[in-house]
C-alpha cells in the first residue's frame, strides 16, 4: 500500500487515480492521465470536484500550461529515479506558469531525492516502498545548507548559500 508524504510526514491521500480505461469516474478528487484529460476534457471539466492530471516524464510543463486553472493537482511521474526530468517540470510549473496547487511525485523515487523534490516545487510524494519510511522521515533534515536558489523560500546565509531543510 502506497503512502503519501507531505512535509516529511505521512499524510492522508484524498485523491483517487483513475485508469484510462475506467468507464465511470467516481465522485471526489481524481487524477487522470494527460491523454484522458485530452480525450474527456468536456466531461471532466463539467464535474464539480477537484481534478488532478498525471504527466509522464517526457510530458513537460508546456503540455498543461494552458489548462492549469482546471487542475488542483499535477502528479509528475518518475519511471525510474534516475530520470530527473520531473524536477525541471515542477520548477517550470511553479516559476513560469504560476501553478500554486499540489505537485505530487509518483513512481520510483528515493528518500535521497526528497529534498531535491521539495526544492524544485513538489509538495507531496507517493511512496511505494514503505520499507524505506524511516529514511524518508529523515531525508529533509539531512542537509541544512544549499548553494543555489530554489523554489523554497530559503534564508540566505552568505554568498550563494542558504539555509534549507527546516523540517525534521
Amino acid at each position: 500500500m502506497a503512502l503519501l508524504l507531505k512535509d516529511g510526514a505521512v499524510a492522508e491521500n484524498s485523491w483517487l487515480a483513475i485508469d484510462d480505461e475506467a468507464v465511470t469516474v467516481p465522485e471526489g478528487p481524481v487524477i487522470v492521465s494527460l491523454e484522458r484529460w485530452r480525450r474527456d476534457r468536456a466531461a471532466l471539466s463539467a464535474r464539480n470536484t477537484p481534478l488532478g492530471v498525471r504527466l509522464k516524464s517526457d510530458q513537460l510543463a508546456g503540455e498543461v500550461a494552458a489548462d492549469l486553472d482546471r487542475f488542483t493537482l499535477v502528479a509528475l511521474e518518475f519511471p525510474v529515479f534516475r530520470d530527473g526530468r520531473a524536477f525541471s517540470t515542477a520548477r517550470e510549473l511553479r516559476e513560469h506558469h504560476g501553478f500554486t496547487g499540489e505537485i505530487r511525485a509518483v513512481g520510483h523515487v528515493l528518500p535521497d531525492q526528497y529534498q531535491f523534490l521539495v526544492r524544485t516545487g513538489f509538495t507531496s510524494v507517493e511512496v511505494a516502498d514503505t520499507a524505506k519510511l524511516e529514511s524518508w522521515r529523515h531525508a529533509l533534515s539531512e542537509i541544512s545548507v544549499a548553494y543555489q536558489a530554489a523554489l523554497t523560500d530559503d534564508t540566505p546565509l552568505s554568498n550563494l548559500r542558504r539555509r534549507v531543510g527546516t523540517v525534521g
Binding site: 529515479f81 530520470d83 530527473g84 542537509i143 541544512s144 544549499a146
Partner: protein
C-alpha cells in the same frame, strides 16, 4: 572536528571554507555514511545504491572500489595534499593517481572504509562530491590560473561560483548523463575547453567588465564533438541564470534512451546549434530575474579568497638562474620545458612532471605527495595545482629559487624535464584498473616514454602530446592528442588505433586515424616511425602538429604503413 587547513604557509589564493561550508560537508558525509549502511543492510539494492555512490565518486573497479576525490578546479593546499598522502597510506596502497579531470583517485578502497575516509577528507575541506554520476562534475580550469602572463580574468573566481552553484543542485542531479564544465580566463586555452559539455571563456567586454563566451556540446567518447559557440559576451550577472537555462533544456530534451547518445553534444548535433540556442535563450529570458542574478557582491566576496599571494618586488631576469642554466644542461632543459612565465616579475610557474620515463602517468606515492606539499610551502605559498595533463604545478615560484627547487625535486624523482614533450603522456588507468576498459594503456605509455627516455632526443623532437585511452570513453583524451592511441578489444586481443592531428587548445581539432589498428607490441614502433617522418619533414620552427597540418595525414600514413595501406 580537527581542522588542519590553516597554517602559516597557506597564503596563496584558495577558497576558504567557513563554518557553513563545513557544516554542509559534515552533513553530506553523514548522509553518505547512512547510504552505505542502508546498502549493507539491504534497504538499498545495488541498482539504487550505484548512482548514490557515484555521486560521491565511488566506483567498483576491477580489483576494489575506487574513490575519486574532487580537487576543485585543480587547486590544493599543502595541508590538503598531505592529507591525501595520509589517506593513501592508511586506506590504500601508498599512492594515488591524478586524473585528466584534475582529480585524485585511490584504487584500493573498501566500501566499509569510505565514511571514515570522507571524514578525513572533510578535515581538510575536501570531499568526493559529484566526481561521478549523471550530475554536474567538478569544474576544471587552467592550471596556471591566477599566475599566467596572458590571463585577463581569474577563472578560479567563477569556477568556485559554479562549483558552489552546482553542488547538490536540486534540479540537475539526475541528468541524462554526466555534465562537465571548464573555464579559462586566458586567450591561450590550457583547459581543453573544446571537449567539455559547457565551456566558459571569461574575458573583458568592450566596457571593461567581465563577460563570458559560452560554448556547448564538446565531448569525446564514441561520438567526439568539439564545442560550438552558444553565446557571446554574456554579462557576469547572468552567468548562473544562463547556465540554469542550458542545463534545464538539456535535462528536459537530452536523450535518455541510449547511454551513448545522452550527452548534450548529441542534443546539439541532432537539434542543431541555432535551434538549441533559441530554446536556451527563451528559457533564459524566463529564468532571468533577481532570484537567479549573480550579484557583484557575491562575486567580490568570492574574489577576495583569490587575492594574489604576498609577492615580493623583484627584477624579472635573475642572473643566478642564467648562470645555473649555462652551467647545467639538465637544469637548462627543465627550465625550458617545465617553467613558464608568470605575470609577476621575478616569478615563474613550474610544472612538476608525474611522467618519469617508464613511470605510470599521473601516479604519485604518498612520499612524493608529502615532498611536493613541503616544496609548495617552501617555494609557492603553500599552494599547488593539478593539471589536466596529469602533472602537478607550483604556480608562484621565485625565479631565483628555481635551481633550489629543481634540486629538491630531484631527490624525489620529480625533476623530469618533459612537460609538453613526447614523454609527457596522458594515459587513463586502462585495463590495469578500470572496469570499463578494453585494453591496457599504462604499460604502453611506459614503453613509449622509455623508448624516448633520452632527454636530448625529447627536446630535439619538441612539443608532442601523446594521449591514450583504454576504451572509447576517452578519459585519456586520445581524440585530441597530437598522437592519439585508443585501445580496443579485437576478439579478445588488445589492439590499438592510432590517430594524428588532434589538439585540445584554442585551435582544437579531432585527430584522424593514420592507419589500420595494430597489436600491443607494434604501437611504440609505429609512433617512432611517425616521429621519424616528422623529423625528416619538419620546417624550421614546426611542431609535430604543424607538420601534420601542412602535409596531411595521408603523407604520414604512406610513410608509416606503406602506400598500399
Amino acid at each position: 572536528m580537527t581542522h588542519l587547513q590553516a597554517g602559516p604557509y597557506h597564503q596563496a589564493g584558495q577558497y576558504h571554507y567557513d563554518e557553513i561550508d563545513r557544516r554542509f560537508l559534515a552533513e553530506r558525509v553523514e548522509q553518505f555514511r547512512r547510504q552505505v549502511e542502508r546498502r549493507i543492510s539491504g534497504e538499498l539494492t545495488e541498482a539504487e545504491f550505484r548512482p548514490l555512490r557515484l555521486m560521491n565518486g565511488l566506483y567498483l573497479q576491477l580489483h576494489a572500489y575506487m574513490l575519486r576525490v574532487a580537487v576543485p578546479y585543480g587547486v590544493l593546499s599543502s595541508a590538503q595534499l598531505r592529507q591525501l598522502a595520509a589517506i593513501g597510506r592508511k586506506y590504500d596502497r601508498g599512492y594515488g593517481h591524478f586524473t585528466t579531470r584534475q582529480n585524485l583517485q585511490f584504487n584500493w578502497i573498501k566500501l566499509v572504509d569510505v565514511p571514515a575516509i570522507l571524514d578525513d577528507l572533510a578535515k581538510v575541506d575536501m570531499h568526493a562530491i559529484q566526481t561521478s554520476g549523471n550530475c554536474i562534475r567538478n569544474v576544471t580550469t587552467d592550471q596556471f590560473a591566477g599566475a599566467a602572463e596572458d590571463e585577463v580574468v581569474d577563472p578560479r573566481v567563477y569556477a568556485e561560483i559554479m562549483r558552489q552553484w552546482s553542488t547538490l543542485h536540486p534540479e540537475f542531479t539526475f541528468l541524462p548523463r554526466k555534465f562537465k564544465i571548464a573555464i579559462t580566463g586566458s586567450p591561450h586555452d590550457r583547459a581543453a575547453l573544446a571537449i567539455h559539455d559547457v565551456a566558459v571563456r571569461a574575458r573583458r567586454l568592450a566596457d571593461g567588465a567581465v563577460g563570458f563566451d559560452i560554448y556547448v556540446g564538446g565531448g569525446l567518447g564514441r561520438s567526439p564533438f568539439l564545442a560550438k559557440l552558444l553565446r557571446e559576451g554574456l554579462p557576469e550577472a547572468d552567468l548562473l541564470a544562463y547556465l540554469e537555462a542550458v542545463l534545464r533544456i538539456y535535462n528536459q530534451y537530452g536523450r535518455r534512451d541510449n547511454i551513448y547518445k545522452a550527452r548534450i553534444k548529441i542534443l546539439v548535433h541532432e537539434v542543431g546549434i541555432d535551434k538549441l540556442r533559441q530554446q536556451i535563450d527563451a528559457e533564459f529570458e524566463r529564468i532571468r530575474g533577481p532570484k537567479y542574478r549573480l550579484e557583484s557582491a557575491i562575486v567580490d566576496a568570492i574574489r577576495a579568497h583569490f587575492a594574489p599571494p604576498p609577492f615580493e618586488v623583484l627584477p624579472d631576469e635573475v642572473p643566478s638562474v642564467v648562470v645555473a642554466m649555462t652551467g647545467d644542461a639538465a637544469f637548462a632543459r627543465w627550465v625550458q620545458t617545465n617553467v613558464v612565465r608568470h605575470r609577476q616579475p621575478g616569478y615563474a610557474s613550474v610544472t612538476i612532471s608525474l611522467k618519469p620515463a617508464g613511470g605510470i602517468p599521473g601516479d604519485a606515492t604518498s612520499e612524493q605527495m608529502e615532498a611536493v606539499a613541503d616544496l609548495a610551502e617552501r617555494f609557492s605559498f603553500g599552494e599547488l595545482r593539478v593539471s589536466h595533463e596529469q602533472n602537478l604545478v607550483l604556480a608562484h615560484v621565485r625565479r631565483d629559487a628555481l635551481h633550489a627547487l629543481w634540486t629538491e625535486l630531484g631527490k624525489h624523482g620529480l625533476e623530469t624535464a618533459n612537460a609538453g614533450l613526447i614523454g609527457d603522456i596522458i594515459a587513463c588507468p586502462g585495463l590495469d584498473y578500470c572496469a570499463l576498459a578494453n585494453a591496457r594503456s599504462i604499460p604502453l605509455a611506459q614503453q613509449i616514454s622509455e623508448r624516448f627516455a633520452d632527454p636530448e632526443r625529447q627536446h630535439l623532437i619538441g612539443e608532442l602530446k601523446i594521449k591514450m585511452s583504454g576504451c572509447i570513453n576517452a578519459c585519456g583524451h586520445h581524440h585530441v592528442g597530437h598522437i592519439g592511441v585508443l585501445g580496443v578489444d579485437k576478439h579478445g586481443v588488445e589492439t590499438y588505433q592510432i590517430t594524428i592531428g588532434g589538439s585540445a587548445d584554442e585551435k582544437a581539432a579531432l585527430g584522424a586515424v593514420v592507419g589500420p589498428a595494430v597489436g600491443y607490441d607494434e604501437v611504440t614502433d609505429k609512433i617512432e616511425r611517425l616521429v621519424a617522418a616528422y623529423l625528416d619533414w619538419r620546417l624550421e620552427g614546426e611542431r609535430f602538429i604543424d607538420t601534420v597540418a601542412r602535409l596531411g595525414v595521408k603523407a604520414f600514413r604512406e610513410r608509416v604503413y606503406g602506400p598500399a595501406a
